[in-house]
């Protein structure tokens, strides 16, 4: 890192003095056409990108139809964005009654506020932000969306769908799988055999079974063992399933961080009289988690994409409500547009997560240098 910085220092100073066109020319010469091999490689990359743009852009933009009442109104050969426009509210809210949509809107706003608070380094009170995301937001979200109090009509959870549902699953999964994962990781290294066996058993069970099977068992098998007439709520099952399933993966990631810490850290904590929990909370976990941020983000992104499997329990997340939308007789043949939008939304969310993780890692790196 430092070596690279030293090498690039000289040209940076040189470019700072040159005019803009000269700077671009210099950058091109140094980074793109430094040798004939580089030039060839660059050319190939440019050709590939060009070919991709050449096929996608005319379809997505130039020949596209932007508003339409049905597929028949759309020009052939181009994208039919009227389909997405007509179905947009369904993609976002699922079956949520139109008159009550201010409730999910409020939830979206709270989520954005909470995320901003948590992620922008300049805003103080990160502890409270965590508390807000872990305790206040889930409770408020549930009460607001479900209703039944303060004159709000009840909207049962099978009416929630689309992006709203995807975000509920993803955010609850992400917020709770890390703390639970850390607990399981500590449990797996515990000196109490029963606790250790329980944690090992749980982690190995979850990692050994496909997520779709866990959901299937939960929704189909559980009712057989419950008293007659008691039907578990599919959404609650899905949320619990995602949290615990991903917690098992998180546990292994965190354990990797724990093993990387030198024994001296534990001994130092003991020497100043810290008990087990204080040692873990203040000394060990902060350092361990810091070492495994890329692994955590990796698990988080796979969690985000696992949320699409909830179709098994009859829930309509973003992907599934789009799949249903493209079968609408009015809009048959709109698969490309529908899945393009789903892909874009998931890519944006995943890319946002990885940008955030790089920012965190950068922050850690600066803190380490200081």
């Amino acid at each position: 890192m430092t070596e690279a910085a030293l090498i690039s220092d000289t040209p940076r100073r040189a470019t700072a003095m040159a005019s803009a066109p000269a700077r671009i020319a210099l950058w091109l010469r140094r980074r793109i056409f430094a040798s004939w091999r580089d030039a060839l490689l660059s050319l190939v990359v440019v050709l590939i990108l060009g070919a991709i743009a050449w096929t996608i852009l005319p379809w997505a933009l130039f020949k596209a139809t932007w508003s339409a009442a049905s597929r028949a109104d759309c020009a052939p050969g181009g994208a039919c964005w009227g389909f997405v426009a007509a179905k947009a509210s369904q993609f976002i809210y699922g079956f949520y009654p139109p008159l009550e949509r201010w409730r999910p809107d409020t939830v979206f706003a709270l989520l954005i506020a909470g995320l901003t608070w948590l992620m922008v380094p300049r805003i103080p009170g990160k502890g409270y932000a965590g508390l807000f995301m872990m305790v206040v937001l889930p409770v408020v979200t549930f009460v607001l969306l479900h209703g039944g109090v303060a004159g709000l009509p009840v909207v049962p959870s099978d009416k929630w769908g689309g992006l709203l549902l995807t975000l509920i699953l993803a955010v609850s999964g992400i917020s709770f799988s890390l703390p639970f994962g850390a607990l399981f990781a500590l449990g797996r290294r515990s000196r109490m055999p029963l606790v250790r066996w329980l944690c090992i058993g749980f982690i190995e069970f979850c990692r050994g079974v496909p997520f779709i099977t866990v959901l299937f068992m939960a929704i189909v098998m559980l009712p057989f063992f419950l008293p007659s007439g008691m039907k578990p709520d599919p959404l609650a099952l899905a949320v619990a399933g995602i949290i615990f399933y991903e917690a098992a993966y998180m546990a292994e990631v965190v354990r990797g961080g724990l093993q990387a810490l030198p024994k001296g850290q534990y001994e130092a904590a003991m020497a100043i009289g810290f008990g087990y929990w204080r040692t873990m909370l203040y000394i060990i976990l902060p350092q361990a988690i810091r070492k495994v941020v890329p692994g955590i983000v990796n698990t988080t992104i796979s969690l985000l994409k696992n949320t699409t499997l909830v179709m098994v329990v009859g829930l309509f997340d973003l992907l599934n409500i789009v799949s249903a939308g493209v079968a609408d007789p009015l809009w048959v043949g709109s698969q490309a547009e529908g899945y393009f939008v789903v892909g874009l939304v998931f890519w944006l969310m995943s890319f946002g997560l990885s940008c955030y993780s790089r920012a965190i890692e950068g922050g850690f790196a600066r803190a380490d240098r200081a």
């Binding site: 079968a327 609408d328 048959v332």
Partner: protein
């Protein structure tokens, strides 16, 4: 990976079967619990089969399966909107029915021996007689399935249709290369891009494929039909009363077509018809509804909600839909079809 997943499913299905025998008569009175709930839990396909069950732009359910759910809800509860639709993939559908997650499965589920006997579920009737056929590009110049020796054929992976196909080609001493895909979308794409020469599926799916691919004149369905698939609503076997209700709701819709009762004229006929059959069906005379444990207006409500069988078919699959499936075997018995109702007397 896929084989692995499929093994998992087999395992899970096995566990379900084991559990089914444990949870025996738990769901004794389906009708009573529907009335107590004020809601019919109806399983439909997962919103991906055009004409069967889809969502419109207002997130409202539409389609043939959906209409049948509405008819049953209207018969039992007197209100066609009191339904919770539970979208299910075929692999979870029967287990969900057994566990009481739904009261009625109105999905494109073919009646087979193994399902009937081993899964302990019942088909009270058939609402669609579908046949497996072949869809080919006209430009291929094929006139008959007998000319398909050596062809590559698109088919849904792990389906009945794959097995039917293999049987048919073995019987005729022909060879073929299967191109198996998981979803209808994928199969249609494969056909369009020429990865296979023909697409084998039931006629309703082939008609759906043609409507999606556009240019209906470029495609031809070959004359050979290699299987007959009776498709119908499914209920739990241990509740014969509810089985009767579902079966007779279907019979009432078919009988209504035969008696020329439609959604539009049902109220008028109730007031004015002098036909004893119409009067019995619509509850003017007799007490058929009460004998089923329902109100005497059960059939009236069902017909008011979705129309007669013919109207339901034409609206969702037939000429009034983009799919334009021919009625064929689904015509009434007096019109060269197989649809008939037991006598209403």
């Amino acid at each position: 990976m896929l084989g692995y997943l499929r093994n998992k499913w087999t395992l899970a299905a096995g566990c379900v079967l084991a559990a089914v025998t444990v949870a025996s008569a738990e769901n004794g009175d389906t009708q009573k619990s529907i009335k107590a709930r004020g809601l019919l839990n109806c399983g439909v396909s997962s919103g991906v089969q055009t004409g069967m069950s889809t969502l419109d732009s207002a997130a409202k359910w539409n389609g043939f399966e959906v209409d049948f759910c509405r008819a049953v809800a209207a018969a039992v509860l007197g209100d066609a909107e009191k339904i919770k639709f539970v979208p299910l993939e075929i692999k979870t559908a029967f287990a969900t029915l057994q566990s009481g997650g739904i009261d009625l499965l109105a999905r494109t589920a073919t009646h087979t021996f193994v399902r009937d006997i081993e899964l302990n579920v019942a088909w009270p009737g058939a609402y669609l007689y579908d046949s497996q056929g072949f869809l080919a590009k006209k430009s291929l110049g094929v006139k008959s399935a007998k000319e398909l020796d050596g062809a590559s054929i698109c088919v849904s992976a792990g389906s009945n249709y794959e097995l039917n196909l293999a049987d048919y080609f073995r019987k005729n001493g022909l060879k073929f290369t299967p191109v198996a895909a998981n979803s209808r979308d994928q199969n249609e794409k494969n056909l369009e891009t020429g990865r296979c020469d023909v697409y084998a599926n039931v006629l309703s799916a082939l008609a759906g494929a043609v409507s999606k691919l556009g240019k209906p004149d470029d495609w031809v369905v070959l004359p050979e039909l290699i299987s007959m698939e009776p498709i119908g609503p499914v209920v739990r076997k241990d509740d014969s009363r509810f089985r009767d209700i579902v079966g007779w709701t279907l019979n009432a819709l078919i009988a209504a077509e035969e008696l020329e009762i439609t959604q539009a004229n049902v109220e008028k006929l109730k007031a004015s018809s002098t036909s004893p059959e119409v009067q019995r069906l619509l509850g003017v005379t007799g007490d058929f509804g009460v004998k089923l444990g329902l109100g005497n207006d059960w059939a009236l409500n069902a017909i008011k909600a979705v129309g007669n069988y013919g109207e339901m078919f034409e609206r969702n699959l037939g000429n009034k839909s983009p799919i334009k499936l021919e009625r064929g075997l689904n015509n009434l018995w007096n019109n060269k079809g197989l649809m008939s109702s037991p006598l209403l007397r």
